[in-house]
């Protein structure tokens, strides 16, 4: 029987924002088991339910657009998959869309975020208008210096911030890094702000599907 590659999009909000990326797999797999969906398990000595998550979300950040791939053993109506999963998931994780994977994981190039909360937006507007925004990015290899200004793909500031940043397997800018740089350079606090991921985008600026 052919396996049905299936991509599930979901939101992760409120209390669920404290589920770490590592723990999310367990939460999702138990939900799939509760929903009794016929899914594929890896083969070998220690078979595991196959799930693959795109683009880790930092602990404490919320998202409207998360994605996980799984393989169904039979073709089910996508609406039914969504419904059964929503019945089984904790209330703060909601499946928003189920479909055939269109893009590959490696096609992800950017993500869009909405930042709200107690933040001096006027000052932030000035901050992103600077010529250079030096910041330190921690990677596995150590700390590297970079100019955030070059990496902000889009930004709009009103009573909230909409910002588009590089994302994906190769290069990723966490919006928290921008907020940290804002605090460090202006002395203004960003402690009371919320980060919400709203979109995942491909190289061509298309919505990741």
């Amino acid at each position: 029987m052919p396996l049905v590659n299936t991509r599930v999009f979901f939101s992760k909000r409120d209390r669920a924002k404290y589920i770490s990326h590592l723990d999310l797999a367990g939460v999702m797999q138990r939900a799939i088991k509760r929903a009794a969906l016929p899914v594929w398990y890896t083969e070998g000595y220690n078979p595991r339910m196959y799930t693959q998550f795109m683009l880790p979300l930092s602990l404490g950040q919320e998202s409207l657009r998360e994605a996980v791939d799984m393989r169904l053993l039979e073709q089910l109506p996508y609406s039914e998959v969504a419904e059964r999963m929503n019945d089984a998931l904790p209330g703060d994780i909601r499946v928003t869309e189920v479909g055939v994977p269109v893009f590959k994981n490696t096609d992800i190039a950017a993500a869009e975020y909405e930042i709200t909360g107690e933040l001096d937006f006027g000052q932030f507007r000035e901050f992103v208008g600077r010529e250079h925004i030096p910041a330190e990015k921690k990677t596995k290899k150590g700390v590297s210096e970079l100019d955030l200004k070059q990496h902000i793909l889009f930004v709009e500031v009103s009573d909230k911030i909409t910002i588009r940043l590089p994302a994906g397997v190769d290069f990723n800018i966490n919006p928290q890094l921008v907020l940290d740089a804002f605090s460090a350079l202006t002395g203004s606090t960003a402690a009371g702000s919320h980060i919400l991921r709203t979109k995942i985008l491909t190289k061509n600026g298309e919505e990741f599907r």
Partner: protein, 621 residues
């Protein structure tokens, strides 16, 4: 509308991302019960005085949580002990201890209930009350609510905790918890005082109201008399469930977001134990022996696995292999679990019941290590403690395990058991050595592999309601001498030893058999900063020593003294169904080195059957 404390949520959002594993402090897990606060009459904050990871692994809490929440107008929520990075922030920001469902402060609840599973959690209870802004001393709490209530095995001698609690629940909580909540519902409607509530509560079987009892002491420090108020019974008898097959079992668990110690479905198969190992408190205080039927267990397993989505289920009891139809049960379960890709795990197997068939069943699961608990090194001493397994039993089981591909075996022993001699100590190593030899006796063993046998040595702790409640605990010098004796005797490098800290065992012994005066020391130790004493990184024996000396109490009086049979025990107004005469006769038999047959072979008249009308205990026939 389902209630949610948004204000608290907002406060927590300000700093939770900075906290280690914040998912522990936020609730909202699948299976957690949310209610409409306006339709709730009685609220119960169920506190586990240890971390989330430990408390969330505990079956008793899951049972009572689901049971209480089944009543529409009662709401039971969970509370655990936060770790210092969290408590520091809470204190700095003025956030009191809150419950994980509503996020409401614990002080707003009608009941603040603690399950008291081990002695080393006593100071954590005080720390949690204090974090909640609730006065830790019962006498400082004047209003009807919150009532601070305790249950669990340690309340068989709750005397060291009497200063802090209003009520204790003795025995099995399934029925009495609901009775207590019904009483609160009534008392709140009638605007009763706390005193009125307590007097009414004392009339419920299984409820101990410590303030209605007075303890006098002899000059030598022993208890002279325990007197009771007219509203309270002379002795408080523990509650038991008469029809265990019908006892409430949760159909769902709160499934945590993060990993915990035992992250799996758990199904209880039996209560009580037929064995009567003389050191084991659980083996006596959980009597009578009762089983669920095979069909009940299988159906509960299916329901729980379906509702939780867990891929592992564990059978829970004091000794699962004593289930009368264990092989039938395992066959029935495996049929379901293997089809649904669920692992079946079986803790608490006895070596003498470790048959090839049972082994095959657990073999499907995971090949990690196997654990056996011979407890003592020689047959003589195993007869003394009534651990009725032979060396041959151990070696036979180990043989099956090695043949099945296991290479690591863990052996549990105790040091300091009554009548122990140096030969018994050396016997521990001799037995471990024979286990190693058993590996090499297997002709099919994998070449190039060597076995690893780890010997875990704990210190014997005499506990109330066991035949050893009269026994002294070995002194520190004696335990150290015995440990050294064993280390000097041991030579095989394939055998490794781990030892428990003597100070911890001593404190456990003191608290287990302490009287009301010990409460002062608990209070002072907490004041000095003790909490989570069961955790190595937080335990400070220095602070405990200071606390005891400041209130003029000797630890050795409680731990290292032989108690006469006719001494009034601090817990003698507690009735756990097993008679004192039986405990004395078992103690005498221990000193004569005579074992007692298990309850299935022959009833030894422990007192439980006669007190419960003889119909409930299912050990025989």
């Amino acid at each position: 509308m389902l209630y949610k404390n948004l204000e608290m949520m907002k406060k927590l959002d300000e700093f939770l991302p900075e906290i280690q594993k914040p998912a522990r402090y936020i609730g909202g897990e699948t299976g957690s019960v949310m209610k409409d606060k306006s339709e709730v009459d009685v609220r119960f904050a169920f506190c586990f005085p240890d971390t989330y990871e430990i408390g969330m692994s505990h079956l008793g809490m899951k049972i009572l949580y689901a049971l209480k929440n089944n009543v529409p107008n009662y709401w039971c929520e969970r509370v655990f002990m936060p770790l210092p990075d969290m408590t520091e922030q809470m204190r700095r920001r003025g956030i009191p201890l809150y419950a994980l469902e509503s996020l409401d402060p614990v002080s707003e609840f009608d009941f603040v209930g603690f399950t008291i599973q081990y002695e080393l959690c006593y100071t954590t209870i005080l720390e949690m009350l204090d974090l909640a802004g609730i006065p830790v001393l019962a006498e400082d709490r004047k209003s009807l609510t919150p009532i601070v209530v305790g249950g669990g095995p340690c309340v068989c001698n709750a005397e060291p905790l009497c200063d802090f609690f209003d009520i204790f629940v003795l025995g099995e909580g399934e029925e009495v918890n609901l009775e207590l909540m019904a009483l609160m519902e009534r008392c709140k409607k009638e605007n009763s005082t706390k005193e009125e509530f307590l007097k009414l509560a004392a009339k419920i079987e299984g409820i101990y109201v410590p303030s209605l009892y007075n303890v006098e002491y002899n000059e030598n420090g022993t208890v002279k008399a325990i007197t009771h108020a007219p509203d309270a019974p002379e002795t408080v008898r523990k509650r038991i469930i008469r029809d265990f097959d019908k006892v409430y079992a949760p159909e769902n668990f709160v499934v945590p977001f993060c990993d915990i110690v035992h992250n799996r479905a758990v199904v209880e198969v039996l209560r009580g134990c037929i064995r009567g190992c003389r050191f084991c408190q659980a083996g006596f205080i959980y009597r009578p022996f009762r089983e669920k039927s095979k069909d009940t267990i299988i159906s509960q397993t299916k329901t729980l696995c379906q509702n939780t989505g867990y891929d592992e289920v564990s059978l829970s009891s004091l000794s699962t292999s004593d289930f009368s139809d264990i092989e039938g049960l395992l066959s029935g379960l495996c049929e379901y679990t293997s089809k649904n890709r669920i692992n079946l795990s079986l803790p608490s197997l006895r070596v003498d019941r470790f048959s090839e068939e049972v082994f095959q069943k657990i073999n499907d699961v995971r090949k990690s290590g196997l654990t056996f608990a011979p407890e003592a090194g020689t047959q003589r001493l195993r007869d003394v403690i009534n651990k009725n397994i032979t060396e041959q039993n151990v070696l036979d089981s180990v043989k099956i395990a090695f043949e099945g591909g296991y290479t690591a075996v863990k052996l549990y022993f105790m040091l300091g058991l009554p009548t122990e001699t140096d030969d018994d100590i050396r016997g521990i190593y001799d037995l471990a050595k024979q286990v190693v030899e058993q590996f090499y006796a297997n002709p099919d063993r994998k070449k190039g592999k060597s076995p690893s046998v780890s010997v875990s040595l704990s210190t014997f702790i005499p506990k109330p309601f066991t035949p050893f409640e009269f026994e002294p605990q070995d002194s520190e010098e004696e335990i150290r001498r015995k440990q050294k004796l064993l280390m000097d005797y041991a030579s095989d490098r394939k055998i490794t030893f781990s030892r428990s800290k003597y100070e911890v065992s001593l404190l456990e012994a003191v608290l287990a058999r302490g009287d009301r005066r010990v409460g002062k020391a608990v209070y002072l130790a907490w004041k000095k900063g003790c909490f989570l004493d069961g955790w190595d990184e937080f335990f400070s024996f220095e602070k405990w020593k200071e606390a005891f000396s400041e209130c003029g109490l000797e630890m050795s009086f409680y731990a290292n003294r032989r108690r006469e049979y006719d001494e009034i025990a601090p817990w003698s107004h507690m009735d756990f169904l097993v008679s004192k005469e039986f405990l004395i006769s078992e103690n005498k038999k221990a000193h004569e080195g005579k074992p007692t047959p298990n309850c299935r072979e022959k009833c030894s008249n422990c007192g439980v059957a006669s007190k419960t009308g003889g119909e409930i205990c299912r050990a025989v026939g």
